[in-house]
Amino acid sequence: MAFDKMELRDVEVWDGNMAASQAMRQAQIDVVAAYPITPSTPVVENYAGFLANNYVEGEFVMVESEHAAMSGCIGAAAAGGRVATATSSQGFALMVETLYQASGMRLPIVLNVVNRALAAPLNVNGDHSDMYLGRDSGWIQFDAYCPQDVYDLNLIAFKVSEDHDVRLPAMVHQDGFMTSHTAQGVSTLDDDTAYGFVGEYKPMNDMLDFDHPVTHGVQTEEDWHFEHKARQHNDLMTKVFPKIQSAFDEFEKLTGRKYNMVESYDMDDADVAVVCMGTSVETAREVATEMRSKGVKAGVVGLRVVRPFPFMEVAEALKGAKAIAALDRSSPNGAPGMLFNELAGAMYNLETRPMISGYVYGLGGRDLTKVHLTDLYNELQANVDAGKILTPLQQFIGVRGPKLSFL
């Protein structure tokens, strides 16, 4: 090979951004089109460093906006090669138009989303507001809780996204700063093993196959548009789950690291459960263990796949619980949180439905502490003891001033 091998130790100390960059390097992506934005900037900076030092080959197109970044990625992916980029917050918002176009054209692209709040007020810190803008855009959305997950899920994302049965772009989310800028030990794969897992890119309907010209991005009227969108949606809901599962299984065989679409922790006999994403999963697990020592049957359900939403797995994980809390790190103004709504939908047909409370936390980088979660578990237990929901439909955790809640 024309580029230099990067020798990695079995465990490297990487932050989430570096974990993403390393996975992009090992997947030997062909084109990155990117525009930097905090806190995802180091993802492409690291990659530029790899290019500058011949640790990777390919083209780095430093464009003039996030919209152009995804536009370039779409053109590059349609030309027939492996493509990835990164963004956050306002950049994600600017990209949204093109996210739909990437998935509608069935182009595999991996996007690292380092979650950050949306303005106004302007805020560079982490919450999940940005990724919800893209949740209906037809992308597969993986959620990483720590740098290790970022590294692993990126490799998995390439494999799933580029599968010819899937051909849908994928995002890997990580919490801004909390994961992206916090260095932790990351177990690594050597370059050959990682590339072997992701596999060689196999183009399909590529624009550089001049003997078979293709037309990408056609116009459809009412006679065909519905068929395209319905098929895309159906493929997302039926073909992607088994592909993710087999990628998880293969990855476990290779590394011993096991991923599930829904990560259940102490849920076998749990009465009360917290459902959350990102860094809060690990905090919740720790608090659940402490609650167990106090006699509260506490559990945690972490989402690993946000889109397509693993309805069956979520319902299965929560079917024995009596009271659950949906923790949303975003606030869809004018409605209960996204996770609250999804969970309610997933569990509505269960024979015995758990009580469900919505909590909004951590907007703009606000910490979610163990004290918050202890209080929350106690509230859930009080609901269980009373046999009814004593708390409002939605509350805000740790907001200064008078307590905010509604319904």
Partner: protein, 318 residues
């Protein structure tokens, strides 16, 4: 670079490569398809094309049909140039890695966009592509109006034209602003080649397109695209209107090499008055009312001044 295609005469040229089919939904008399064929037929090389949202796009790729017998992509209104730039980057990357399926082929990368998609909403994306030096050609099909959405003004709409968002009426002569000078703006990026072309001067057009394909780096081509629907003339008169525009110097033909060296490529033997060009189109009809006749003089003055400016630039070689 591959050898330039030899072209003998118009008849042979018009049928020499049918990569853009006559079967499409463009209006009768639309200059878009003429320009596209002139661009595509200028080379025998493989093509990777994009179209921004606009008449050309919605009329040539309506599922399950396509008029394009070449790789083609449409993303959005603003980003056709960046889509082709992304494909060009992928071609470079795969060439470097030795993974091109057909390494001996020498594709040309071309984006087509209307004036709305180039002068206005897509301006930033084109500027970015020019500045980054992608080996692409951006061709503006400049019909001076948002024709696809029903005739709204764009920043390419000339003063005095009636458009649906700058209507001529009892208290208005229509568009109030002068047309944006895109060729100069794009040339100012220091790109190797930019030029203004018109479909009636097909030899001049082919020469410029071939020059554009022969250079390494971004190329900007501004093509006058006569719009029978919004300019309001008879579909059979497209080439006549084009002749009026080049011969009145409303649409001067020139090129700018490396961002500064300007060459005028067509000097009409008999320059006709601008009034004749305006009179031939419904969009300027109101200018012939007494109260707006002063605008026709202003038009003539501006065209004269621009012609003098172009000649001075050509002489100065700066």
């Amino acid at each position: 670079m591959s050898e330039m295609k030899k072209i003998k005469n118009l008849k042979e040229f018009s049928t020499s490569a049918d990569r853009f089919e006559g079967a499409n939904l463009l209006c009768p008399g639309c200059a878009h398809s003429i320009i596209v064929r002139e661009v595509l037929n200028a080379t025998n090389d493989d093509l990777v094309l994009s179209a921004s949202t606009g008449c050309l796009e919605v009329c040539t790729a309506v599922y399950p049909y396509t008029s394009w017998d070449a790789s083609w992509i449409h993303i959005g209104f603003e980003n056709g140039s960046t889509a082709v730039a992304g494909a060009e980057a992928m071609h470079k990357a795969l060439a470097k890695k030795g993974r091109l399926k057909q390494p001996d082929r020498n594709p040309k990368f071309v984006s087509f966009a209307g004036d709305g998609a180039s002068y206005d909403i897509g301006f930033q994306w084109i500027s970015g592509c020019m500045e980054r030096g992608h080996n692409i050609m951006h061709v503006v099909l400049d019909n001076e109006v948002y024709a696809n959405t029903g005739g709204q003004r764009s920043s390419a709409t000339p003063i005095g034209a009636s458009a649906t968002t700058s209507q001529a009426g009892s208290h208005s002569y229509g568009e109030k602003k002068n047309k944006k000078d895109m060729v100069s703006i794009m040339a100012s990026h220091g790109i190797p080649y930019s030029a203004q072309v018109s479909p009636n001067k097909w030899k001049d057009m082919v020469k410029k397109i071939q020059h554009g394909f022969s250079v390494d780096g971004p190329v900007f081509i501004n093509a006058a695209s006569q719009c029978t629907t919004e300019w309001k003339f008879d579909p059979k008169d497209t080439m006549h209107i084009a002749d009026l525009s080049t011969d009145s110097l409303v649409w001067p033909l020139y090129e700018i090499i490396d961002g500064h060296e300007l060459n005028i490529t067509y000097r009409p033997k008999n320059v006709i008055p601008v009034e004749e060009y305006l009179a031939a189109q419904g969009r300027f009809k109101h200018l012939f009312k007494d109260e707006y006749k002063y605008l026709i003089k202003e038009w003539q003055d501006r065209v004269d001044a621009n012609w003098a400016y172009l000649q001075r630039r050509e002489e100065a070689r700066v």
